[in-house]
Symmetry: C2
Subunit: 480 residues, 2 copies
């Protein structure tokens, strides 16, 4: 009884906080109206140029009133009948748009090409797609957007829209907002479906504070059978959060969310549930990164920081970020194979440079390595072992210890920097991702603090480095 009352009080508090925060973060009525008016105008012009052969749909958070203030994205989907072919709808859209709206249109390429421009304060995108029905097989990834728009627009109440904005703000403040590869967090669409499923921000927070991964959210009950849960776990195996897309039951809408970020979200909700009125949840002031503090913190660690800096290749983030990550873990693996203990590693970019950082427990290893051989009782294996590890490398032994024989050998590499130089010299052989092998050959190696003196580090890169050095998910211990 007490617990129930307590929960009720917390929900009311969250409701109040949401109301207050919402005022600060939502676009003004005027802003929202202006945005919609502008979108309607542009839509009308393009529609005219297409002779009504396609339907123009204004979708996305601006259209649904779930965007944050200052978010000026206008997404217009041009929906064609399914029978047309891909190239046709792209050509028609480009022709009509360029004819109807005079602006400096840029061609962009995702799964298929689309147009982008800036008109006044608005960022406008015009995207061709096919008209499909819910749960029908899509022809292109973008086909779902108009369906999501229909689905959510019909269902989200004004209060829920407000809650979506507050949730986005909460996540943004914690670095968990966005499905991009850099974030691997919660997209706007995931926020909307979560609020819809749990009815309110308070409902979502109360529930998420208790989540145990893997978490399954199935708004439409598409898998509401005895074996549904098992089927889903099989379909999306490894996913920590399975959010069955309301308009496509074969898709996990939250596929971008990785385990760490789901865990962070659970902790965040738990902390927010505990003290919803703590203003830190929505307004962490992040001062500019401070090189002095970073230098001091690094010197406190006494680990060995070794970093690689190399020119940033001209790639979109969707390709660059995973390639950097892959390369960083390949380097970490190479260090570990050579017996260096990698404490932590990270990768990030500035405007012009890429950085891969390795923190190792020690940057040099003893010259000698103890190799365990087979049990003495296994004569054949002993002979083979002694033959394989030939005497020229023995520094100590062979000897018997307990029931086994051992030899101690010279290591080939004893300095981490020497290993990194080898990797730079032949990146491909060491598992560096394809687009980075060429730039990595030009890499500079910084030891310890030296990185902080690099001119290539801009504020963004310093911020990434700051999180690496301090790595504090503050909401885990919000009282401090």
């Amino acid at each position: 009884m007490q617990a129930k009352q307590d929960a009720e009080l917390r929900k009311q508090a969250i409701e109040l906080v949401a109301e207050r925060v919402s005022r600060r973060i939502s676009p003004s009525k005027q802003e929202a109206d202006e945005e919609k008016r502008f979108a309607a105008e542009v839509s009308k012009k393009i529609s005219g140029a297409l002779d009504g052969k396609a339907e123009i749909k204004f979708v996305g958070s601006a259209a649904r009133d779930t965007g944050l203030a200052g978010d000026m994205d206008i997404d217009l989907f041009v929906a064609f009948p399914k029978k047309l072919d891909r190239q046709e709808i792209i050509d028609r859209t480009i022709r009509a748009t360029k004819k109807a709206v005079k602006a400096k249109w840029l061609m962009r390429y995702a799964e298929h090409p689309y147009l982008q421009t800036r008109i006044g304060k608005f960022q406008v995108e015009v995207i061709p797609c096919f008209k499909i029905e819910p749960h029908e097989k899509i022809k292109s990834a973008v086909d779902r957007s108009p369906l999501h728009m229909d689905y959510l627009q019909k269902r989200l109440t004004a209060a829920q829209k407000r809650d979506v904005r507050v949730l986005k703000s909460l996540l943004k403040n914690a670095g968990l907002y966005g499905a991009e590869v850099e974030v691997e967090g919660f997209s706007g669409l995931v926020c909307e479906q979560l609020i819809l499923n749990h009815r309110s921000l308070a409902g979502l927070v109360e529930s998420a504070a208790q989540w145990r991964p893997p978490v399954i959210v199935d708004i439409e009950g598409a898998y509401k059978t005895a074996t549904g849960t098992e089927v889903l776990k099989q379909m999306f195996s490894g996913a920590p959060l399975i959010l069955v897309d309301a308009i496509d039951r074969n898709r996990n809408a939250a596929a971008a969310v990785n385990e760490t970020n789901l865990s962070k979200f659970i902790c965040l909700c738990r902390a927010f549930w505990q003290s919803p009125t703590n203003p830190a949840f929505f307004s962490r002031n992040a001062p500019a990164p401070d090189k002095k503090k970073l230098r001091a913190a690094l010197s406190q660690r006494e680990h060995s920081l070794i970093s690689l800096e190399f020119p940033k290749p001209n790639l979109i983030d969707d390709i660059l970020v995973p390639q950097l990550r892959k390369s960083a873990s390949a380097i970490a693996r190479q260090l570990q194979l050579a017996d260096f203990r990698v404490f932590d590693s990270t990768s990030f970019c500035s405007a012009s440079q890429c950085f891969i950082l390795m923190e190792v427990e020690s940057d040099s290893l003893p010259r000698i390595k103890k190799l365990q051989g087979p049990p003495v009782a296994d004569a054949k294996s002993c002979t083979r072992f002694l033959a394989e590890h030939s005497p020229e490398y023995w520094l100590r032994g062979p000897y018997v210890e307990g029931s086994r024989i051992f030899v101690e050998k010279k290591r080939e590499v004893t300095k981490a920097v020497a290993l990194l130089k080898k990797i730079i010299a032949s990146p491909k052989e060491h598992g560096i991702a394809s687009h980075l092998t060429a730039p990595l050959r030009k890499a500079r190696i910084h030891e310890g603090h030296a990185l902080l003196s690099s001119k290539g580090l801009d504020e963004n890169a310093l911020r990434a480095m700051e999180y690496f050095v301090f790595r504090r998910d503050w909401w885990l211990a919000p009282k401090r």
Copy 2:
């Protein structure tokens, strides 16, 4: 067929080698006769002084012709009826011996007191004991010796006695001879029982080359039942070599042999079986330890050697050696608890000093330590973890990684030498053995080579250090 012929050839070769080696290592006929004559003389005198109330038995390797040349031990056991009490037989033996044989007798103390002296080239011991029957409960550990004498004297042939001497020489040369705590190897008595059981040196070597620990040798077939093996393993659990004592089936005559030394013995027999004519098996020339070579070898390692040197307390080896070992492993454990990686450790003594050596992978640790917390899903444990590891020690975090929370803390100790100083300051609290706590307080700490400049290192100590540094059981790879 081929294998059988091959084995036969090897056995013949071992026979030839034994014959040749035996000539060099056995006492001369004259030496042996002189020894026996002398023993008989002394026995007669003591017997006279006891008025025939006890039987004097000349036992041990000299009595049985199984000793090595230059081995001048004369062990005389004075066997009294069981009904007498302990103090009585001790008093009578001392009185009679001192009366009958004028010499500078010393009192020695093992399980019970006995007399020792040097007369000419002979080391004479006179030991009181009780007369018992085989497998009867003993009153004192020494009571078995006359029974062993009877048993072995009756059974060992001249050829077997020769083989015992050759086996002892083989073991001595490999550092495996002797049941003392410093060696934990094969006693003379174990050698005799092994040869008796396997009929010859060649038979023993052929068999031992195939041994798989735990090895059971049961000469008299005392446990020749369906469950005998299991019973023995239970009785002597953990023993790698169970040699059922021929005259006391409740005793493992090879209890002193540790796992490493049994494994070494197996390898040694295998190597000897492979190339019996290699003279190295009986005449390794061990040059005096070379400080220069030691220094060079140590500088090749790049491990951190840290050693403690402290005054040797006035204790018999049976007590000192285990206490040193216990203390060395306590220190190793302390280092490991503090996250230092102990590569190897050893302890040894010179005439005046004790040494404990620790080889650690690195003598300093990073300031920071990563502590894994509970899974995020376990809210209570997370709260407890964050409360236990209080913020004042956080250097990084708390943060979420994968499904768990982590904090990174300051280490209390980052230098191995600092930890050793702490141990020296309060030895008892750190598990140092009782007799060493006082001397350890006076310990000096040497880092790396510095130990080699210590005046306390004599040749014996240097030899122990040499085995530690090179640790080569040469017979594992005899060709080199």
